[in-house]
Symmetry: C2
Subunit: 325 residues, 2 copies
Amino acid sequence: MNEPRSSTRLSIRHIRSFVAVARHRSLTRAAESLFVTQSALSLTIQHLEDDLGVLLFDRSTRRLDLTQAGEEFMPSAQRLLHDFDSSIRDMRALGNRERGKVGVAAVPSVMALLLPEVVAAYIEAFPDIDVYLREDNSEAVQQRIIEGDVDFGICSPWEPDAELIFEPLFEDSFGVVFAHHHPLATSADDLSWKEIDGYRIIGFSPDLGMQHQLSHTAGLSENVREPRYQVSNTSTIETLLTRGAGVSVMSALAAQRPPLDRLGLRLLTKPVLTRTVGIVRRKGKSLSPAASTMLQHILGTVAQLGRFPGVRILDNVAATSRGKT
Amino acid sequence: MNEPRSSTRLSIRHIRSFVAVARHRSLTRAAESLFVTQSALSLTIQHLEDDLGVLLFDRSTRRLDLTQAGEEFMPSAQRLLHDFDSSIRDMRALGNRERGKVGVAAVPSVMALLLPEVVAAYIEAFPDIDVYLREDNSEAVQQRIIEGDVDFGICSPWEPDAELIFEPLFEDSFGVVFAHHHPLATSADDLSWKEIDGYRIIGFSPDLGMQHQLSHTAGLSENVREPRYQVSNTSTIETLLTRGAGVSVMSALAAQRPPLDRLGLRLLTKPVLTRTVGIVRRKGKSLSPAASTMLQHILGTVAQLGRFPGVRILDNVAATSRGKT
DNA sequence: GCTTATTACGTCAATCGTAAATATC
DNA sequence: GATATTTACGATTGACGTAATAAGC
């Protein structure tokens, strides 16, 4: 006359044992398949029967068969076991980075200069993880992070937000790019901003972060801040420069990646103008395993950017990830 | 780099804990609802996260939120928990006789004389258990049991079968039934079979067990073994006897139950002819909880049959049931 | 300072394995 | 008498609670 409320004592172990015995129709063989002794399994089945108040098996030394109640329990038990195991398996697969998805939002320059090779390496390492990339300006990138649209973003700091944290990756300085037959190609030394005033400037459209920054930096000459020629992609720039249409001011990183890496570059100093690029993610929100490994790949790739003149890697590129492994 | 094969360590307890924490969004409150301490729950969650290799919650002292992985796990976990609990609950309901079904096959006399009041009491005690009754001759009753059509049967032993076991309930002897205005009504003493030879016998049709037995008993007079008047139900008999059409030979039990109990009865001895009635069920096959309680009710009712003259209760009416309670 | 989660550790119960007993064929 | 299940019992493991520690507000 006891009144057991909820099954605290019963666990998946009992279900697993029941199903094994029902399948093997033998305690001995079921015990082998479960890697326990017959006695342990016998007790487990007895406990299950006690708790349910129902005899599950009719057993003699020679025969073991399901009772009517056991037959009735079998389908639920099998389904329970299967669902449990596959749920656990799914979650573990997620933990082992064998499954999952990661979304990254980035500003155009990063999307073009950094992410292609990161993602290429990533999908090779984790072919079963879906990768979503979103290209946006810094403001929209931050918005996507806040809304949970992506796991993290890569951009320049735009407006501080209480919900977000910014972790710098590298600083990119500016330089001038020109064709090899251009007069500037006679030297590789750094230039001052004054020295390029006389050349025709081919600029980027202002929705690109680096052009935006140039436009808002006091002290630069008008044709750098508001160039009369504005294009929006690097291959167009490359064509124009190669034909001698002018020179272009851009970040050192952009200048040294295809297709512009075949042109000449001289860094602009006096003053050194830098543009910080970093990771933005939600405060207090840990990264998913997939996102965590993606971040690791990004950090690894960024670390190799230090070889480019004008690009300075910031030194907090070690302890940025969370999660396991 | 460990390789956990199947989730042996993880149990429903972990799932239950996870769901509770996710719902309460607090270890403390979840722990209360689970009637454990925070520390125990904290460890449980950690073990779950360790085994899955995935962080399930982002927790600081002030906030606790599901990670992306946790969000993803939540639906499966809830379903797992619900399915587990309801499966267990179902089985326990079966064990508590709150659910189930029981099928009984019986020969006509038992079906008419014994089962009505047994079943009436049974459905009052267990209103949610379905009861199936099947009326058949002894041979067919045995067949139904072998085929698993019913849980057990009640009949006279027909042919021994290796698959079946027979447990006697009571012995029924024979008597002669007559109207109160009949000459036999002048005494209540036992009669010898010889003494009724002169009366016109109203018999039962031979498909009834007791008539069958009379027909195959050597030494009885012809008009008892093969009566010229054969009817198949007791109410017809009662009408005929009341009108003085004759007398009827039948089992003492049948004679003392409605509608024949208002007529006269004298037992036939010299010799005493008995008819054993008992339970037939499959060897080595335990009864379902519902069937077990049904059997208990039958035994209880049978025990009260002892008050009828000519009915002798056999003494193995105590330790016949299996299962709990 | 108050609340909440984690860590440390002793206790207790559940599970398991070895081995003996029991039952069935 | 051989095979399979159950029972008995000691050992190991795991879960729990108390209490101390750490971390956010």
